[in-house]
Assembly symmetry: C2
Homo-oligomer: 227 residues x 2
């Protein structure tokens, strides 16, 4: 890893736990929070891919609301407009995984430049990071919004290369989302897959360069490679 | 529906039941056929969208095999190469929904031109339709393969417009896949959603022009509109 000069992190599911919204879901629908959260997240992802393919980009918060609307109709639960908005807002107050703050500090201490590269809108990314007290942990917060297409379209990954101003082989891409790690690797980033839960990597012709079960292990990888 | 001159049908899930492969899955893995078939179909769709976005098209049969490989690893079941190939081949022998043959005949008798517009490769489409004895029911069998991108990319829908040689407002698009019906409607096709199982339509800013619970009801729609 001696050649790595910068790291681009995915946000949702990688640094922040998207299923932390299940607590709010559970308040609205006791006992069904996890189920609602799972369908909602799956649809949110599908809608980013489908809208990108249809060339019908809308900002991530709106995709998130559409996905929630599908979820409540699909599961046959009742939710008024105000509660719907309140649940969508829960995506602005996601919890960081516990090891994340210390790991970011350690990576920066090694002289690495750090960025978030996320499907979220600039407002969403800023809100999530600020609410978690991590605003100063990053050199750049990059949203796909300027290119109006979602990952894994190459134009999304290009944003990180352009912003860091170094070659893509010198930028480590870090994601818990196996489809995102696949896209990043096809783009040309060395890629680390964070697999916290014994998940199965996608079968789309790529494998991650590294696989770890938490961000603290990524710090260890750098330490053992670079001394 | 007086202005409709031609109909383009989706194949998988619309005219043919993709979960008819669950019988073969159940032979390999007794009691788990439906579960395997569901995960497999979901991944197959995801991989068509993701590979399209990554600009990494491979033919549909190969996507189907990759999706199966993910499914067996994800569910922790054992499947050797030969059995894997045999299951993938089951996608070439799907069953048509029971009302389909008569409905196609009735629509053609009204003077409508009929085509399949499918993600499947030319070989797959031909095999499925021929195995079901429906090869002569269509004027055209259209695969997305020449444009090397999957639905709902506009380039896929354009194939039907170009082949029929009439304007898109005169072509009815018929699909059971709500995401496909959404893409077709954004493209500009009048669209009929076949909802056989009380499913939930997607929330991506479109609604189908018509919704019916089987192809026979589509014939009724034409009969009542055109006398």
């Amino acid at each position: 890893m001696n050649h790595i000069k910068a790291i681009a992190f995915d946000l949702y599911g990688t640094l922040f736990d998207v299923h932390s919204v299940s607590v709010q879901c559970d308040e609205q629908f006791p006992g069904r929070g996890q189920e609602i959260s799972n369908v909602w997240r799956q649809k949110q992802l599908e809608y980013t891919w489908l809208r990108s393919l249809m060339n019908r980009y809308i900002p991530f918060e709106h995709v998130t609301e559409e996905a929630l609307r599908f979820t409540i109709r699909h599961l046959g639960v009742e939710l008024d407009e105000r509660a719907c908005r309140s649940l969508s807002d829960a995506y602005l107050r996601l919890q960081a995984y516990p090891e994340v703050p210390d790991a970011l500090r350690a990576l920066r201490d090694r002289g690495l430049k750090l960025a978030i590269l996320s499907n979220g809108s600039p407002h969403s990314i800023d809100a999530v990071v600020t609410n978690a007290g991590l605003r100063n942990s990053f050199d750049h917060l990059l949203s796909v919004d300027p290119v109006r297409v979602y990952k894994p379209d190459n134009r999304a990954y290009e944003l990180a290369e352009q912003t860091f101003g170094v070659g893509r082989r010198e930028i480590l891409f870090v994601s818990s989302n196996a489809w995102d790690a696949t896209g990043a690797r096809y783009f040309g980033f060395p890629t680390c897959w964070i697999n916290r839960g014994g998940k199965t990597f996608e079968e789309m012709g790529q494998r991650p360069d590294w696989e770890v079960n938490g961000l603290d292990r990524l710090v260890t990888l750098f330490a053992s490679a670079n001394g």
